[in-house]
């Protein structure tokens, strides 16, 4: 198989979904002729026509609201939200409608809608273009929330999200779109399972999205210092694959959670809460969190320092080991 960037892997995934199911639609701002501001939908309108791949008016509530209507009519829309920071106008449609209509209709209605959201920082962008809003969606029953971390996994994950009969919020680490290519995984791995990417004995590091690569790098550095980190790519944020995390923590006794989103009330809190409850006697140290600070995402000239990085992860590993 050929190697692809994340943007190209996602593009291939959308292409196959469009080929396989005539009900699949790709919609959003600038996804048509432009191919999306990140080129993830490049060429799709040309090949599948503008009634299946189309630019919408500039309004995110409208994008999600009309996707719901399309799904009610039997379609399977894949919506692109241009940047993480622009999902909020759609928040009402997502929380009060998308997440609830299946329940409201007592199962009569299914909303197989995928909402793709480029997320996270590190690309030197202006305000609102580097947010990590995943916890908001994870706290909303009725949604499934996943995050891919790189090309290898992303192709299948997006295909699985599109075939899911539940609404899926699909986060894509935008800083990875055009960086290192990877060979696509030969087959799908269960969408809602976490993956141990690097086995290790000393400390478990759980993360997702763009931080997976950083965590693996940190593990390399740690290995050089004689510390053996186990790195888990969460992949699914809701549902959380607690079992995989617990299995690891029961072995290592130590857990560091890493995410770009602000610390307080973030995804890390839920993982910590579950692990301390379910692996109480296995923990040799408290669960630690290395995350974005509790500030708005900062101006980009300081983002690399603000974001979790290898130094901070290793520092947490040290603290965990010292307990």
């Amino acid at each position: 198989m050929t190697e692809l960037t994340l943007a190209k892997a996602l593009n291939a995934s959308l292409r196959t979904a469009l080929e396989d199911d005539p009900k699949v639609l790709v919609m959003g701002e600038d996804v048509g002729t432009l191919g999306g501001v990140f080129r993830v939908t490049d060429g799709l309108q040309k090949d599948f026509g503008d009634s299946r791949v189309f630019d919408t008016p500039l309004a995110e509530a409208g994008i999600v609201g009309t996707a719901i209507g399309l799904a009610l009519r039997g379609y399977r829309p894949v919506c692109e939200i241009q940047f993480d920071g622009f999902v909020f106008p759609a928040f009402d449609q997502i929380t009060t409608q998308l997440a609830k209509i299946h329940n409201r209709s007592e199962g009569s209605v299914r909303l197989p809608i995928t909402i793709r959201i480029p997320f996270g920082g590190g690309i030197g962008a202006i305000e609102h273009h580097s947010e990590s809003p995943e916890a908001y969606f994870a706290h909303t029953p009725g949604l499934r929330v996943v995050a891919c971390s790189g090309p290898a996994d992303a192709y299948w994950m997006l295909r699985q999200a599109i075939t899911s009969d539940d609404p899926v919020i699909f986060f894509e680490p935008k800083r990875r779109y055009h960086s290192a290519k990877e060979e696509l995984a030969p087959e799908a791995y269960p969408l809602f399972n976490a993956k141990v990417l690097r086995p290790g004995r000393d400390v478990t590091v759980v993360t997702y999205g763009a931080m997976v690569g950083m965590a693996l790098d940190a593990a390399e550095v740690a290995a050089g210092e004689g510390r053996d980190l186990e790195v888990i790519d969460l992949r699914s944020i809701s549902p959380l694959d607690t079992a995989t995390v617990l299995e690891s923590v029961r072995r290592t006794g130590r857990l560091v959670i890493v995410h770009e989103a602000s610390r307080s009330f973030g995804v890390g809190a839920e993982i910590a809460a579950r692990v301390q409850e379910q692996a109480f006697y296995s923990l040799e140290a408290p669960v630690l969190r290395i995350t974005g600070y509790d500030t708005p995402y900062p101006p980009s000239r300081i983002e690399n320092e603000w974001l979790p990085n290898i130094d901070r992860v290793l520092d947490a590993v040290d603290r965990a080991m010292e307990f």
Binding site: A61, V64, G65, A71, R73, D92, Q93, Q97, E106, S108
Partner: protein
């Protein structure tokens, strides 16, 4: 409302408040007396289900009810204009349209009793579940209409398959961003969508002037949509105007906004107290324009219908009322299973665990009580 104000805004009317048929050049309506009688039957039964629900609420059998009193003609007119294949997206007050779509009124009650949030399968009736967040459903309607277009189900000339969509909302809802976005989508994409706005003059305690200084049907123009105001207390006019708009939609001639000018005679819901914000005389004026009375007047004076018609109808209404009264109490109670069954199409491990926990807890409560 004074005759003067009634006349001030151009409004399509085909049956005057005292039961006279009048013609409108743009909306000819060929309708038999039997058909008018059938509409009258709808009006009476819808009113009856509404008043029965209020009674059930008073008896503590429902937690709440949003009465449609005064809006029956608007709803029955629109409801009967729909073809079976058309799809309708209601807010929470469209009991009359639900009736016309064949939804069992009993199925509506669970939502207000607190046993469910839906009560029926939208696909079975081409009628979506009630939507409470103001305006949301208009975007669903726009999306559904986009699907209709993609299915090629407009403009074929086949009246049994060409499909229109009706989006219902109120005067208050016109202020919401979602409704605007639905207008944007509908007009930019020329969708087969009719916006059915029941301007009942009130959004809870806010008179329509809080939302707009201009007549609401005029909003359509700015989007390049047709907009028309119809006497929403005139079932014939509402039928004719909505039918025409739906036909245009089915023919591929794009969206319209129909403003049915009417009045919410009852409080917003059974929880509301109108004395705090409006005087009784206004409501009294509107009672003079009662949507049922004018049809009855017409039928009694002008039409040739069976002499037993009114008595039979009263019996039918009585039967309906009894059915509702008995049925409401028997609506299935929610259970641990029902609460968890449709969170997602497939339960997650976490949900399964929580469901068991909940079921066990309910079981322990039941055991403790018995």
């Amino acid at each position: 409302m004074s005759e003067a104000v009634y006349a001030e805004t151009p409004m399509v009317q085909l049956l005057t408040p005292d039961g006279q048929r009048v013609e409108h050049p743009d909306y000819p309506l060929a309708i038999s007396d039997d058909e008018i009688a059938a509409l009258y039957r709808d009006l009476v039964l819808v009113r009856r289900l509404d008043s029965e629900a209020i009674a059930l609420q008073r008896q503590g059998e429902l937690g709440l009810w949003a009465s449609a009193l005064g809006q029956e003609a608007a709803q029955v007119g629109a409801g009967r204009a729909l073809a079976p294949q058309d799809m309708c997206f209601p807010s929470y007050r469209e009991h009359g349209i639900a009736w016309c779509r064949g939804v069992d009124p009993l199925a509506l009650l669970g939502n207000w009793r607190g046993t469910d949030f839906g009560g029926f399968d939208p696909h079975a009736f081409n009628f979506a579940n009630y939507t409470i967040v103001i305006g949301s459903q208009t975007l669903h309607a726009a999306g559904y209409a986009m699907g209709v277009v993609r299915d090629g189900a407009i403009g074929t000339g086949d009246a049994t398959t060409d499909t229109a969509v009706l989006a219902c909302f109120g005067d208050g809802a016109t202020s919401q961003g979602d409704v605007h976005e639905a207008f944007v989508w509908a007009s930019a994409e020329n969708l087969p969508l009719v916006f059915f706005l029941q301007n009942n003059q009130w959004a809870i305690s806010a008179p329509v002037a809080v939302q707009s200084r201009a007549p609401l049907y005029l909003r359509a123009q700015g989007y390049g949509m047709r907009g028309v105001r119809v006497d929403g207390n005139d079932v014939l006019a509402t039928l004719a105007v909505t039918r025409r708009a739906l036909e245009d939609a089915r023919n591929g001639d794009g969206p319209s906004l129909v403003e049915a000018y009417t009045y919410r005679l009852n409080p917003h819901t059974t929880n509301d107290d109108t004395r705090r914000y409006r005087t009784a005389d206004k409501a009294e004026e509107w009672r003079q324009r009662d949507p049922l009375a004018r049809v009855r007047a017409y039928l009694e004076v002008e039409a040739d219908i069976a002499s037993s018609f009114f008595a039979d109808l009263e019996d039918e209404a009585q039967t309906l009322a009894e059915r509702l009264r008995a049925g409401a109490r028997l609506l299935p109670e929610p259970t641990a299973d029902s609460v968890f069954a449709h969170v997602l199409t497939e339960p997650t491990a976490d949900l399964r665990e929580q469901q068991e926990e909940f079921a066990d807890f309910l079981e322990s409560v039941r055991a403790a009580v018995s």
